[in-house]
Symmetry: C2
Subunit: 436 residues, 2 copies
């Protein structure tokens, strides 16, 4: 996109309401704009990040055998009465009456609805196992929304739901999601560590949170360096095969949130490998058995002809939250440092002298070669403004073109993460950017 | 997807509540499932169609220079009080109180919100023109929702909003969307005819509906055969150049809905070219000037230093509605006939004898060559069931593999739309399917 025609606004001032780095940077870099307390509109650059995060999540869900559906945002209250959660959920649930005075709600999660949908079709054990996921906006009416998209009221979430005939089957489904989550976060340039979680009001006895480390994290975590060093993407998992070895590796090394921390076990970790840091939760997986299938009347005919309530699990990733979490994990004083896989654009092309024939020609060539993954700063602005905006926006590469370089056919290429610079020909610069 | 493991359920019985073909077929083919009155969950096959429709809309919006953003579903009531529409809108607007008793609403459209967002950034005439669009779920609390996704309460819509310094500029933006809409519908295999529309309560003086012809259409339309014969995709429009010739061609031939029909002008159309048919509205474009920019206080500094309220237009396409409309325009007694560009899968592979080594091997080869754009019917079912499900589901191609054909390395390829059949080698069958 050409900045002269794009809607990619940046702010010079830091908005007063933003308390944490990601919130501040998302507003200043023009990724989002608040429209009500805890509710945001996504501007073009922010939406590009959101879509890239979403697409990585989708690809890894599909790879693990989950199937995408899309449930609506508005749900009937009756379903939640059947499960018993309608009264339990409290004021976080946005309750609505439609024009016929029927009780509706804006879904904060979808266990009830997916169980009811599946019930409409599944008749026999041959219809199992299945794992259905959707990526949809949800609403939790937080009493004090804050931290931007990290704790908003309207948020985008991927939630998957598995249905199995037996507990053993459900454990395999759980491991599939466990491994898919490791890959999902690794592809975004994140080190997400699975940590055993309290199962809380949702119930069940198998649950992990996936937590990334960031100085500004919301909670204290304790983790073995061995887990941080492990290269997740080196494995190519066979999702139909036995995934226990991968899960066992992760669960046999120490990793715990403050609530689940065990000082005695921690003392067993060699001192040099003990990492105590701040963490941000980006995913959560649960096994909860027949907690919803039983009350909602989902049952299939088993191999012996008798009805069986499927064993279920649910698996969430906060997609809009991840955009903030990635920034918390990757920024500096000057702005955002996007990991390559989720950057809104791979490169910013900075024309230091628009109107100079050499600069314009070289920039146009670069732009043609890199579009649509480049922003072209063709504005009539001082070089300093362009440098600052590019650093703030955090594109992995900056291709800087001034009159002297242009005359020699050279581009100055800067890597945002390291500050490294190199003077390259157009072809080499394009190759470096595309190879990243 | 392998049907033995997929969540692609079909229904044998026609659901009683469905009055029109698309609603009936969408339920029977397992594209959607109703979760409340006028609210639907999209199952995997339906979601694939929805996403393909959405992606065509997106590509043509981008090509025309519009920029994608994403506004939230929940809006503050104050914005609608500023524009004066909060009280006008009536019971179709889903009104909500949050936990702090603030008045919110589920957006039925976004003129107010986009104007407010743009106001936060646009300062000067240099920030114009811009066209911002989003693709988001909306809610209209219809008193009697019916016709499935054609008239649902929660629906997916693309809405674009243009901002220009002058009326002439706004007319150019209007023409950009006019031409983009022609291309969008043509790419989906639809003949959508722009018809001059009453501007209604939204105001303004330039407005067209885009209407497709279907026997089961909701209203009567009158159109010249010349428009139906025109090949939209033969043109490659230059969106920055003068689009008047294209728009003039369309507006100089007769096309009108019943409300705007003019018998005297219709009598001027040569009798052989008069087509009177039923139509379904799939898009709507408006110019409305400063109707929202003025009351909401959006103004930019003009070239002469004086403040100017931008001239605006809005441009909608009902994306979820289109899925139903396409089926209304393209089905037969046996089921759906998907146009190639929006089909959930290009082909169904029908294994007539699972367990037969030759059939299995040939089907696996076909599936590997066509995945992920094929469904593989590997179920233990009678051939008749498989034929019926494939016809119902409407995949453009059916690749039928029986023991005799498999032994000779031959596939029977059927084109769903015409019923034409050919016996081909695997390579030729794959090439035919991919070339469609």
């Amino acid at each position: 996109m050409r900045l002269s025609r794009a809607f990619l606004p940046t702010l010079k001032e830091t908005p007063a309401e933003a308390q944490i780095a990601s919130h501040r940077l998302m507003l200043r870099a023009g990724l989002v704009r608040q429209t009500s307390a805890g509710i945001y509109a996504w501007l073009p650059a922010g939406l590009r990040v959101l879509r890239k995060v979403e697409q990585i999540v989708r690809e890894e869900q599909d790879r693990a055998g989950a199937q995408e559906i899309l449930m609506p945002t508005i749900q009937p209250a009756e379903l939640w009465r059947e499960s018993g959660r309608y009264d339990d959920y409290g004021k976080e649930m946005l309750r609505i009456k439609d024009r016929h005075e029927r009780d509706m709600l804006y879904g904060p999660t979808n266990e009830e609805m997916v169980t009811d949908i599946f019930k409409g079709f599944a008749k026999s054990y041959r219809d199992l196992p299945r794992n259905l996921y959707h990526i949809q906006w949800k609403f939790r009416d937080e009493v004090r929304p804050r931290f931007g998209v990290m704790r908003g009221r309207e948020f985008l979430m991927k939630d998957a739901y598995s249905f199995d005939l037996t507990k053993e089957g459900a454990e395999h489904s759980y491991r599939q999601m466990f491994v898919a989550y490791l890959r999902t976060f690794a592809r975004m340039g994140l080190k997400a560590i699975p940590m055993r979680a309290d199962t809380g009001p949702i119930g069940g006895n198998l649950s992990h949170e996936f937590i990334i480390l960031a100085e500004t994290g919301e909670s204290q975590v304790f983790v073995s360096q061995d887990l941080l060093d492990y290269d997740v993407l080196a494995d190519t998992p066979d999702y139909l095969g036995d995934l226990s070895p991968i899960v066992n590796f992760w669960t046999s090394h120490y990793a715990a949130t403050e609530e689940m921390h065990d000082e005695a076990a921690w003392a067993q970790v060699p001192e040099a490998k003990r990492v105590s840091a701040r963490g941000i939760e980006v995913g959560h997986i649960f096994f909860f058995g027949t907690k919803y299938s039983a009350p909602l009347g989902l049952s299939v005919q088993g191999p012996d002809g008798k009805p069986v309530a499927p064993e279920m699990g649910s698996y969430g990733i906060g997609i809009s939250r991840l955009v903030g979490a990635i920034i918390e994990a990757s920024h500096d004083e000057a702005g955002i440092i996007w990991p390559d896989a989720v950057a809104p654009f791979s490169a910013a092309i900075l024309n230091l002298k628009p109107g100079d024939a050499g600069c314009d020609a070289l920039c146009e060539q670069l732009y043609a070669a890199l579009s649509p993954e480049a922003v072209y700063d063709d504005r009539e602005e001082r070089a300093g403004v362009k440098f600052n905006d590019a650093d703030l926006s955090g594109h992995p590469w900056q291709a800087v073109v001034g009159p002297r370089g242009a005359a020699a056919g050279r581009v100055e290429l800067k890597r945002r993460a390291t500050g490294e610079r190199a003077e390259l020909s157009l072809e080499d610069a394009v190759a470096r950017i595309k190879g990243a």
